[in-house]
Symmetry: C2
Subunit: 224 residues, 2 copies
């Protein structure tokens, strides 16, 4: 019955966190990072089919951790070698009936319900919707002879959730893996789907470093 | 006698901070943001000629604020219309004898002494040194027909301090202002100076939003 499927990709090994615990399991405002992500999606898209992709060896750890917190219903599936393969497993695990599939990074735990709803609405009339934000820094591009200024007005930073028509995404993920696939939009684009950009959120970052976690704690505490 | 000149550009109007107080004057770990920047440069480059460029109307405010903290000796000069003009005023204010000039954003207050020293050493054998960092996000480039994936391996985020031979920088800033000048390297490049890239620091961000300030507080508290 679920018209919407959500794949939360939580395959990180946590190497960059200087911590044995993968970052999606770290505590943030009294709850694991991944729990925030799951609950926000569940509240934003009631009735959605929710699949979390984890490294196989972390599934027992997550089940144990999850049982101690108030986390919305979700299924866990084991991820693959690359992110691409993990998303493939997620797609296979979703119920056949879903019409739209959202793919989200598990460590983007600060995402707002508002952005999820906005992306889901945009996906009702567009095949592939991805949130992007403007860049604030100056950039240089590495060239064969050195480097050169790159016009920042042309650049956008890509975020998730990326939401696709289920048919398009399933078709795109039947391809062979290519190292140029850095996100789901790039997989879809390679079978020439048109990508619709919507406005993302500056705070919707990937929590990857200890500093990010400190920042996230501060943000949660000042959210009201 | 100072062989090195430092121009700290603190011309921001603070609009993005949701605060009447420009961000360089906000408190961070018990001191104004700008005080951290000035003191770190003073400690990293002892004896350097230190000039702070401020909007003219903020100079009395800054002097008043600065008198209440332990801040290294520096001179204040009034900025111009654009950042370009502010740097011009800074260059004019520096003593004639300086051989190298570092230009730094006042709100990059989390810069380490280590990076400043590393950049200054690199500038002794290179005309134009700028710190850059790798990007971690995925990027898209806006094109005439929509947007496309942009290979992140080619991109670097530009930081400050940018350090130049004084002769080259003075010559570059004799040009007419051009809107393509987004940083000092771009000004120097337009008279075809060669730019040397060195490794920057992820924490050397521009403090521009309330969230950045929360993050900076957390970082200072966990620095030891």
């Amino acid at each position: 019955m679920a018209k919407r499927g959500v794949i939360i990709v939580a395959g990180g090994s946590g190497r960059r966190m200087h911590s044995a615990l993968p970052k999606q399991f770290m505590m943030l405002g009294g709850m694991p990072v991944l729990a925030h992500t799951i609950n926000t999606f569940s509240e934003a898209l009631p009735g959605a089919d929710l699949v979390v992709v984890l490294p196989e060896e972390h599934i027992p750890l997550w089940r144990n951790l999850a049982s101690r917190f108030d986390i919305a219903a979700h299924r866990c599936v084991a991820g693959g070698k690359e992110r691409f393969h993990s998303v493939q497993r997620g797609i296979e695990a979703l119920s056949e009936g879903v019409e739209h599939i959202a793919v989200h990074d598990g460590v983007r735990a600060l995402i707002s319900k508002r952005l999820i709803v906005r992306a889901a609405l945009a996906a009702e009339s567009n095949d592939a919707v991805i949130p992007v934000i403007d860049v604030v820094d100056s950039y240089r591009r590495i060239t064969d002879y050195g480097s050169e200024i790159f016009p920042r007005s042309e650049l956008r930073i890509v975020q998730t959730p990326q939401i696709f028509s289920a048919q398009l995404l399933r078709r795109a993920y039947q391809q062979e893996y290519d190292t140029r696939f850095t996100d789901d939009a790039s997989v879809v684009e390679s079978i020439s789907g048109h990508i619709t950009l919507i406005e993302g959120e500056r705070s919707n970052i990937k929590l990857t470093t200890p500093e990010d976690m400190g920042w996230a704690e501060w943000l949660l505490a000042h959210k009201e």
